[in-house]
Symmetry: C2
Subunit: 374 residues, 2 copies
């Protein structure tokens, strides 16, 4: 399953902040780390991001050829297959980060707008191609583009979104557009490296924790890092500030992936939108699984044998596999590592010279994203 940040995140948060969750069943900055005030800030940042970026994103997509335009509008949740209006897209985390990063450089959030549109386009380019490569026929309970229109449609619409991202960024009029586009292109190659490794891992039985972390750095953290910095590049910020924002985005991205992997095993299907124990069903070599295989003693060895097997598992077998990941220390390690990563990111921000408002918003958004229920 290709990386995504879900469509119902804002709603989930709005349902009750973090306060009602049992302690010890959250993986962000620790139980109770995300105060209600942080949740409110994060939701406001996400709402502002969506409100700011959506008109520009729609204008950009409107310039695509007819087929790509229709498929992109469906993929982005703006229309349904029968042409009726859709229920909207995802949380738009990356655009929100891009806008915040302009504010972090002391510029108006609008200065980050071309970057915000561009990172969202690149994110969706990768989702369209990944769904096809992974053979996923559904995303958020809707048919994927390749499953409905065929493989060429997903390939071409993805390609078109990638090219459009570069155009949008360079048209923005910033004198710093060229370095921003160069950063985005290099990030795209990192994204591709991560996906290539993910595909290769499926055929291998000897994937190590370091390799798995490197894959996540490419597939998930690289675009979040660039999202958290591209607005500062467009605003002409000093390289030191941009590097700090990239560090924050990288750590946030790694924490986000660790949490996502925990949710892939122990997430509530009603919340994640995926079947229960979904990552185990596909024998995915996720981070907690890989950790338990290599550091989990007897439980890890039994887990490795199960992982090397084939065929469909029953509910009992999947529950047994989940218990092995837990007994092998994979669950605790991933939760602790997510906390450690987000703390590292926050430490980098704390030491940097940026206005207090954007700093607090970046921290609140990061905590909100990694403090999901699982």
């Amino acid at each position: 399953m290709a990386r995504d940040d879900g469509g119902g995140g804002a709603q989930r948060g709005e349902r009750g902040g973090g306060a009602a969750r049992p302690p010890g069943r959250r993986c962000g900055g620790g139980a109770g780390m995300t105060a209600t005030a942080d949740v409110d800030i994060a939701l406001a940042v996400l709402r502002r991001g969506r409100d700011t970026v959506t008109p520009a994103l729609r204008a950009a997509v409107a310039r695509l050829d007819r087929a790509s335009r229709e498929q992109a509008a469906y993929h982005l949740g703006w229309i349904e297959l029968d042409g009726t209006p859709g229920h909207g897209g995802g949380k738009a985390v990356r655009p929100a980060l891009a806008l915040l990063s302009a504010a972090a450089a002391g510029a108006p959030v609008q200065a980050g707008l071309p970057g915000a549109v561009a990172v969202e386009l690149v994110h969706n380019f990768s989702l369209l191609h990944d769904d096809l490569m992974d053979g996923d026929t559904e995303r958020r309970h809707r048919r994927t583009v390749w499953a409905h229109w065929g493989a060429p449609a997903a390939i071409l619409t993805g390609d078109a979104l990638l090219a459009l991202a570069v155009e949008v960024l360079l048209e923005g009029g910033s004198p710093h557009a060229a370095p921003a586009a160069r950063l985005l292109a290099a990030t795209t190659r990192e994204l591709i490296r991560g996906q290539a490794e993910d595909v290769a891992f499926e055929r291998r039985s000897d994937v190590g924790v370091e390799e798995c972390l490197s894959m996540a750095a490419g597939k998930t953290a690289s675009l979040l890092a660039t999202s958290a910095a591209i607005g500062s590049v467009l605003a002409g910020a000093p390289v030191g500030l941009t590097a700090t924002l990239q560090t924050y985005g990288t750590e946030l991205g790694m924490a986000f992936q660790l949490v996502d992997d925990l949710l892939g095993i122990w997430g509530d299907p009603a919340v994640t939108g995926k079947p229960v124990l979904s990552d185990l069903r596909s024998r995915k070599k996720s981070l907690p699984v890989t950790y338990a295989v290599h550091h989990g003693g007897t439980a890890g060895r039994e887990l490795a044998r199960w992982l090397a097997g084939a065929g469909e598992d029953g509910e009992a077998q999947l529950r047994r596999a989940a218990a092995l990941v837990e007994d092998g220390g994979g669950r605790d390690w991933a939760a602790a590592e997510a906390r450690r990563r987000i703390a590292l990111g926050e430490k980098a921000l704390a030491g940097a010279d940026l206005p207090d408002g954007p700093r607090a918003e970046l921290v609140a958004l990061g905590r909100y994203l990694v403090d999901r229920e699982f």
Copy 2:
């Protein structure tokens, strides 16, 4: 079959220029238009282009992730599947045009180098994805990347080449790199539009000549137009000169496609590297076929009925179909239209303010490319 300019072109030309071919069996500027001197100029321009661009292209590809790097090196003809050295790549028409366009703006050809590398990368991005979409298992008698490594490999390596093209262009250091990258991104979307139409045409029986020309403009002419202009953009040429070079590249591209379609029916398999009557075997709605269907009277109607059929044809049926395209005027029209297009391009160049050397080289290269045997 995705657009390509073949690997043996230079060798073909070197075999004897145009002098030995029977008159009336050439589609360029008319029989005898390409003098031996023109052929020599064109071959020297192509050789210089390859010599200049190859080291930079190799350095760019070396930066890709391991899997993409290996697949790209194989696709580009630098290595074989067993790791032994390959027999080299294609003619590198697009890089040669890009370098010439810098010279046309009065700059050193080196000023066009980042553009030359970038257009070659975009061209090969499109070939990798098109081979997969078209289901072609061979290109120039070699297995295609998707056929050997699987669909994800072709998707990801293509994606990586597209991102790399943007990086290379923006790293070149030209103060005009941003508009050049913007032009390349817009061109990529045109390329995608053309391929999307090509895919859609396969399922339709009512494709008109204008639609077919528009498809060719996207799929073939757009990148040749940008190749013939991008060096001038990087050199900071006046917009008028860049527009003229784009016009020349567009007309050259249309002529090139018309000739390619003629070769797809009447080309010598020993020269084209494709089976005899190959485009008819796949019932391709190429330009001469589409013209004959719509303007070919009785022959056109019989051709349309054959086109709507299915199943594999014998040699006799294919020869009959080729005769119907000819009787329906498709062959003569395509040859005349190719001549008209290249003449239009040359007229645009003749009226523009550029140095005589690059102008003569552009004309010679164009004539050489459309004056192929068929």
